[in-house]
């Protein structure tokens, strides 16, 4: 079997989605990539979570061709493929229809950075990518979804490792990270900060985003070369 360890990891990450309350039924998928071998492992399409196993994950190449597995891959595989091709540091991707993320996608608005919970993980607003055109919808729909995300990041000159998530207008959230566990973490944070932002605007409709200094401080406290949060460097 190809990439047995990656199958195990991707299986585990998929099973984490319902644990974090991010999916109903089969509405979510996680993939990860082995860049050396050029292989992607992804959830099969439409299979209930209780029937998933490391063995029924699907393996594809970087063109989205299935190279191992008896089941159809998630129909979102072409979106994942586009993102892996364009974002070289991404090792894992998550797509869900989590309630709060979908609400912002449907509202067609970026999720503003209103506080440190957001700033600890995402460096600035989480963008809402534009709606697909009728031509894109009727063409290679899932592939075009990936291209619209990439276009949005290029248009705004965003670093996908600093803003590791997006919502696609009328659709829902995607997130990613250096591996599939980071991608799941970012999916949870996206959902929670989306919820907090909605509540915040309800309490104060005139609220503004946090100052730039706070965005810098919190993101770099955890992610910069002088990061001091957690246990990376023992200090005493």
């Amino acid at each position: 079997m190809l990439v047995p360890e990656l199958r195990q990891r991707v299986y585990k990450a998929n099973m984490d989605l319902p644990v974090h309350g991010l999916v109903k039924f089969t509405w979510g998928n996680v993939s990860a990539i082995d860049r050396e071998k050029g292989l992607i492992v992804i959830k099969p399409s439409g299979v209930p979570y209780e029937e998933l196993s490391p063995e029924n994950m699907v393996v594809s190449d970087l063109e989205g061709n299935v190279v191992e597995g008896d089941l159809n891959p998630s129909s979102d595989l072409p979106t994942h493929v586009e993102l892996y091709k364009a974002f070289a540091e991404v090792g894992g991707i998550v797509h869900t229809h989590s309630t709060e993320g979908v609400a912002w996608a449907q509202a067609g608005r970026d999720i503003p950075c209103y506080g440190t919970t957001h700033a600890d993980t995402f460096y600035g607003a989480i963008p809402c990518a534009r709606a697909l055109t009728p031509e894109e919808i009727n063409g290679a729909y899932e592939k075009e979804t990936g291209k619209v995300i990439i276009e949005e990041f290029q248009k705004r000159s965003l670093d996908p490792m600093a803003v590791a998530g997006v919502t696609v207008r009328n659709h829902g959230p995607f997130s990613w990270g250096k591996d599939e566990q980071a991608a799941v973490y970012n999916a949870v944070v996206l959902e929670e900060t989306a919820r907090m932002a909605r509540y915040t605007e309800g309490i104060n409709p005139d609220v503004k985003e946090v100052p730039q200094a706070l965005k810098d401080k919190h993101y770099l406290r955890k992610h910069g070369k002088n990061a001091y949060y957690g246990q990376k460097s023992l200090t005493h």
Copy 2:
């Protein structure tokens, strides 16, 4: 015993309602029909979920006359009967007082199609059927409820298999499907898309429904003859 397998299936589907968080106390019911035999199986009225069993389900004919069972059928049976008569492809029906569905029913508004989560299951807005007149309320109330739903679908020229759910004004949601499991699935999706739509309007009061191309794409991706979601056709 008549239709023992259908009793088992309807029992199971009723027990799924609290699992999905759609009911409090006894506020929900599922039925299914054996069209060949002309028999409907439905939950008994007012019996707590923990006391339900395949054996205490109630069997009626297509006029709503009980033909097997010691308990009263759900008081909503006449509504189910009307829908089975009018919608020939329907095999199962669910009625609940789920919170979000009821809120839209009470607000008297259709649940708009704001995104793909909705469009994957319902082809366009989920209609809110008109309130019953005082005469209908004081007449054969539950039967009239069914007739009002049917009237709404006829007036709008809706295909009940493409829009397999409705809310009745001042009351709550009904959903259906080819069988009782599909009806439960649609009840869960109705509740979740109702929640998402409420949040969406909170974030952006000026939001519009999704373009027609997206409605077509998502519904047909899962339901048309060229459906490619899930495992129906293995492709490699």
Copy 3:
């Protein structure tokens, strides 16, 4: 021991409050009355739910004097006493700080009857009783709370068995019924209809209460002498 069976029932009803998600910490209490013996059983004050038992319930007379029990009764006992004295058919009372009920109490508004979920249990809006005056607050506060509830029902000519609940302004919900189980049921319905009403107004700020015919139909369907909901009269 006096009234051992009533101690058991009141203990059970108190334990149901956290099961239904109506209380945090010790913020709720249930009592019941044995009208023949003139004895009330109520939860002790400030004791965590996991330490409650039938034996540490407190028994008082109809003046609120403790006649059996080593612990202080709930500080709300004088409110319960007033209600038992004024509402002759009431056999059980519940007070909680459940989130949605408190929100309406704090907002100072009646919970409107927007649909059948409400109308099945409460015959019309659930009133919000007026705020206590500074004199009442600084006097026999808990007793005055009961008197304010009674005043509200008298002023509006409400039948406490048809509208078996209230919120007290700036405080929270009280409910009651023929016994303590009915009171708990009504507490759950009050909380759920409060939630639905809040959502409903969010979706449609111009929503109106349901027509009188619907209030009559649903309440009498379950509570009148021609009630046909549930299993009280077998019909086949």
Copy 4:
């Protein structure tokens, strides 16, 4: 080992945060102080809750220097240190990113006292401390956070034992108490009253705070020298 009992208590209090639904991942921390020995025990930084133990809690002195423990202390330790220094009666401190508390912090508004649930625990509004300046953010950030809280209490002449919580603008809630269990209790109440206040304003945008007489009554009923709630003084 220093302060083994305090390690055990602080461990227990940290584990209570996820039980009360106040934290995701590692987003929260509890500390407590032994004032005689001048030692603070706090959660280590970034360690998942399931890996916490009494033994991996971190002990620091009153300057925030680690005196026992192999792991980094919570990065918020300097905030805790400032509060212990300024608020002499405080024995335990909690910081979380609980959803509702964060929403008010992000909205930049005090949590108003709209009812008795709030008034039973907090004597008046829970203040929102001002945002840190860019200089404070780029300086000793966590220490400055503590100083901003203290400044807010001094500016408003608030007694930190009567209003035992705060939110810091753009950040989130802090609470405290005579010990770590009281601090956790206050964190739960802050979150619940924040939720209730948000709902209340949704139902009635013109709502006002409760009268002073009610604030006095409820706070003093539980906290004054004539307190009569709970089991402190047996009365019969």
